[in-house]
């Protein structure tokens, strides 16, 4: 009777904890959710790209704009009377925030690793550091928060340079796209602190590996979306 030889160690006929694939239900649900999220960010990014260069007024991502005449140029405009908008995007600063977010994914991997190997004896100082799930969860959360701080700084300075949500198509599509990503990072940070709180309260062990794994999956996804945004919005002119 080969048909009953399935993954999962629990007797399938009892019905409990048995799954067809042997994977946790939540994991499959999360994968489906992330598939849906791909379409969400895909649509946001596609709209940003199709509106690129279509703004009729105001600051632009990579070009100088003379406010009075709406002349657009790849270099500073010499004879512009009155306000001249400089290119809005600050690539060095965003490169730093991108690095921070990528490092948070590393910390996330280490958190998961620490939880999985919680019961392995640790002898040296470095083994204890590497095995501390609290440290790495907090590290991931702090790096995520640092990214959000960069984003807050970025949004504030853009605002002062004259770019608002309602200024032009660039403002609308840029803030909506990056704002949605920032919202996802914020949700991930809350999730991280929740797991951290559980870790402090009762300690996470190998039995919780799936719980951390789910968060890691989400976190890496949000990270990958940022790589797409950074490349398509910031780096490509």
């Amino acid at each position: 009777m080969a048909t009953t030889a399935h993954a999962g160690t629990v007797d399938p006929h009892k019905g409990h904890h048995y799954t067809t694939t042997g994977l946790d239900n939540r994991k499959i649900g999360l994968w489906a959710f992330l598939g849906s999220e791909c379409m969400l960010f895909g649509t946001l990014i596609a709209t940003y790209l199709s509106y690129k260069g279509k703004s009729v007024a105001g600051p632009r991502p990579h070009e100088w704009v003379c406010a009075a005449t709406n002349v657009v140029s790849d270099s500073p405009i010499a004879n512009c009377v009155g306000q001249m908008f400089t290119p809005i995007l600050d690539i060095p600063v965003t490169s730093a925030s991108t690095f921070v977010l990528l490092m948070s994914s590393l910390a996330m991997v280490l958190s998961h690793n620490a939880v999985v190997h919680k019961n392995v004896p640790k002898n040296t100082f470095w083994e204890r550091v590497r095995g501390s799930s609290k440290l790495w969860l907090a590290m991931t959360a702090f790096l995520g928060m640092a990214f959000l701080a960069f984003q807050t700084y970025e949004f504030t300075s853009f605002y002062h340079e004259g770019l608002k949500l309602s200024t032009n198509l660039f403002g609308s599509s840029f803030f909506t796209l990056t704002g949605f990503h920032g919202g996802h990072v914020t949700f991930g940070v809350l999730w991280l602190w929740t797991l951290f709180a559980i870790d402090v309260k009762r300690g996470l062990g190998p039995d919780d590996a799936t719980n951390v794994d789910l968060l890691a999956l989400y976190w890496h996804f949000v990270d990958v979306v940022w790589i797409a945004i950074f490349t398509l919005v910031y780096l490509i002119k």
């Binding site: 399938p12 694939t21 849906s36 946001l44 599509s173």
Partner: protein, 643 residues
């Protein structure tokens, strides 16, 4: 056929947790959620039908006077919105909820509380979007709400606010259900229920859920842009700021065309259950039915711009989208021929369910053929925005989805409620639907070809449209009578219909192996599946009897499956979950509160824009806190007791 008006063969469970209003509000049982979906969506179906009948009455003769243009627009918009998002989609969800766990041999869906949440979000979203019509403030820009028409510049009123927010809420419901059902089907199948043994309904449900989770984000984003334009002053659809007037159309139809298959694939699935059952034959070409369903799903994402041939996309885009559109006719045609081949040489029984299924096969074919006609851009340029298109999509949605859904209700009523629906009334229902449907929608082809535009609230005489409109309106009254017969039959059968056995139709799939109505735990013991029609195997093979999945099945013997669908034999009452030691999820009110809070917080946005900013902000913040608290309690409470 005797109608036995006795008590059910066994008393339905009367445990304290299972009776009363509160038990329904807090339930997480997929079967009870299905029943709630059924009542709610039937209500909205009749509400949308009423709107349609008022529209038809206005159009019965030239220069109708009962409606003005504004109210007509509201009724027309709400008819479309109601039928698609509040009637047909949730009517399909009735069967997703009820059937998926039963057909794959599971005790419930993967996330029972999320399932309850989906229902409540649907209910409250439906209320948000429907309520304004009682104040003559309903959405009025058509069901596809083209921007820039719906931007604050052209639709300053509160009407579109309700539409945007209502659809956004309904999207949450569909997406949550999508993740839930995908996980359920992939991960909770009984041993031996491999993918190619899954009933076709479950297969089509799986394809539909993938369409939902991949297509809905497009409309979510389009609606977010519109929401931001309306509430926060962005310029996504502001033409003066350089916006693309086609952005909405593209985003909407990237969702909107898969949506067509979201509406009709579950219907195909139901028909694929009904026809083999009443032909006493396995489905012809099972694997091809699966592949064609998947292919329809894939192609469905590549044809959206055939809704936009008239906007001038250029010959290359028109040609590509036309080719993709015509390609879809192939897998759809395959399905039609497979259903016919299933009936070919079968021992046909023309029950009401079977009649509705055959109704789909014939009517959907007509709608499919007119679809091929305007799949071709030159023809489409003549037909676009005329009544021809209205005729086409009512043939596929009424002739397709609605026919199959009613067939499904007649088929599964006994499994839901333990009684059979009256067949005589059912046949009246079917024939009045079939004739009324054709009377209503067939003349629209001619009116459209004669140039009658859709969405007009009145027309001058002398253009040759009078007769066709008169016939259409008479047909729509027949549909009202038929629906009234159905409602009478439904409640009468609910109370005093003939008692159903576990398998009153002699069907072969797993849901018919358990008692009717299905016990709360579904399967006393999770079955092991060895074929596509496990119940037929058991009944036709003696030596299989000792490997029966459900203890109760041992008593089933080959019965005469002629028209005798009523039972005279009394089946033993199924044991309660407690007696069997089965732990079921606990009831909880948190999903309902979370859903209510989501609807309330969205209404805060409407307040913010139209009434008082401070009140709106406070309102939204308070409801956001309610969302957070209810979800916190939901997440921190275990699903079921320790055991």
């Amino acid at each position: 056929m005797a109608t036995i008006a006795a008590a059910p063969t066994y008393a339905p469970s009367t445990a304290a947790s299972n009776t009363g209003m509160w038990s329904w509000i807090t339930t997480v049982d997929h079967k009870r959620i299905a029943v709630m979906y059924l009542y709610t969506s039937l209500f909205f179906f009749m509400f949308g039908g009423l709107e349609a009948v008022i529209i038809r009455t206005q159009l019965i003769a030239p220069n109708g006077t009962i409606l003005n243009a504004e109210i007509y627009n509201q009724l027309m918009t709400m008819h479309g919105t109601t039928m698609i998002f509040l009637a047909v989609m949730p009517l399909s969800a009735v069967f997703f909820n009820f059937l998926i766990p039963l057909q794959i041999g599971a005790r419930d869906v993967a996330f029972p509380r999320l399932n309850a949440f989906s229902y409540w979000v649907y209910l409250f979203g439906g209320i948000v979007i429907t309520m304004p019509i009682f104040f003559a403030l309903a959405p009025n820009a058509g069901w596809f709400g083209y921007a820039p028409l719906t931007t604050p510049q052209f639709s300053p009123g509160v009407n579109i606010d309700y539409w945007v927010i209502g659809l956004q809420i309904l999207g949450i419901s569909s997406l949550a259900a999508g993740f839930n059902f995908i996980t359920t089907i992939i991960n909770m199948r009984a041993p031996g229920m491999n993918l190619m043994r899954m009933p076709i309904f479950t297969w089509m449900a799986l394809v539909t859920q993938f369409l939902i989770i991949l297509a809905f984000p497009a409309i979510t984003v389009a609606l977010i842009f519109l929401q931001f334009d309306r509430f926060f002053g962005t310029q996504f659809y502001a033409i003066a700021a350089g916006a693309d007037p086609l952005l909405w159309q593209h985003l909407f139809w990237i969702f909107g065309h898969p949506e067509v298959y979201i509406l009709v694939l579950p219907a195909f699935g139901l028909v694929s259950e009904i026809i083999p059952t009443f032909s006493r034959k396995p489905l012809f070409g099972y694997p091809v039915m699966v592949y064609s369903g998947i292919l329809i799903g894939f192609l469905g994402f590549g044809v959206w711009a055939h809704h936009m041939f008239a906007v001038g996309m250029g010959p290359i885009a028109d040609t590509m989208f036309s080719m993709m559109t015509l390609l879809i006719a192939i897998p759809t045609g395959v399905k039609i021929f497979n259903w016919i081949s299933t009936m070919w040489g079968g021992a046909l029984r023309f029950t009401t369910a079977m009649l509705f299924a055959i109704g789909l096969v014939s009517l959907f074919t007509i709608g499919g053929i007119s679809g091929v006609m305007h799949g071709s851009p030159p023809a489409d340029l003549q037909q676009t925005d005329t009544y021809f298109v209205v005729a086409h999509f009512h043939y596929v949605l009424f002739g397709g989805s609605i026919m199959a859904i009613f067939g499904g209700i007649y088929l599964y009523f006994p499994k839901m409620f333990g009684r059979l629906m009256n067949e005589t009334l059912g046949k009246w229902h079917f024939w009045l639907y079939f004739i009324g449907m054709n009377l209503t929608f067939f003349p629209m082809h001619y009116a459209g070809m004669l140039g009658m535009p859709r969405r007009i609230y009145r027309y001058d005489g002398g253009q040759g449209w009078e007769l066709f409109n008169l016939i259409s309106t008479i047909g729509s009254y027949m549909l009202v009578v038929a629906t009234a017969i159905f409602v009478y039959n439904f409640f009468r059968s609910r109370r005093s219909g003939a008692i159903a056995t576990s398998d009153p139709w002699g069907a072969g799939t797993l849901e018919w192996s358990i008692p009717s109505p299905a016990p709360e735990y579904n399967f006393a013991e999770i079955p092991t599946v060895r074929s596509r029609y496990p119940v037929w195997d058991i009944k036709s093979s003696e030596h299989g009897a000792h490997e029966i999945p459900h203890g109760e099945l041992g008593e089933i013997h080959m019965r005469d499956h002629s028209m005798d669908t009523a039972s005279t034999e009394v089946e033993p009452a199924p044991k309660s979950a407690k007696e069997l030691g089965i732990v079921l999820p606990n009831n909880t009110v948190m999903p309902a509160i979370a859903a209510l809070s989501i609807a309330l917080s969205s209404l805060g946005l409407v307040l913010m824009r139209n009434e008082n900013k401070t009140v709106g902000v406070v309102w939204s913040v308070v409801s956001a806190i309610m969302i957070f608290v209810s979800i916190y309690y939901w997440m921190t409470t275990p699903l079921e007791d320790e055991h």
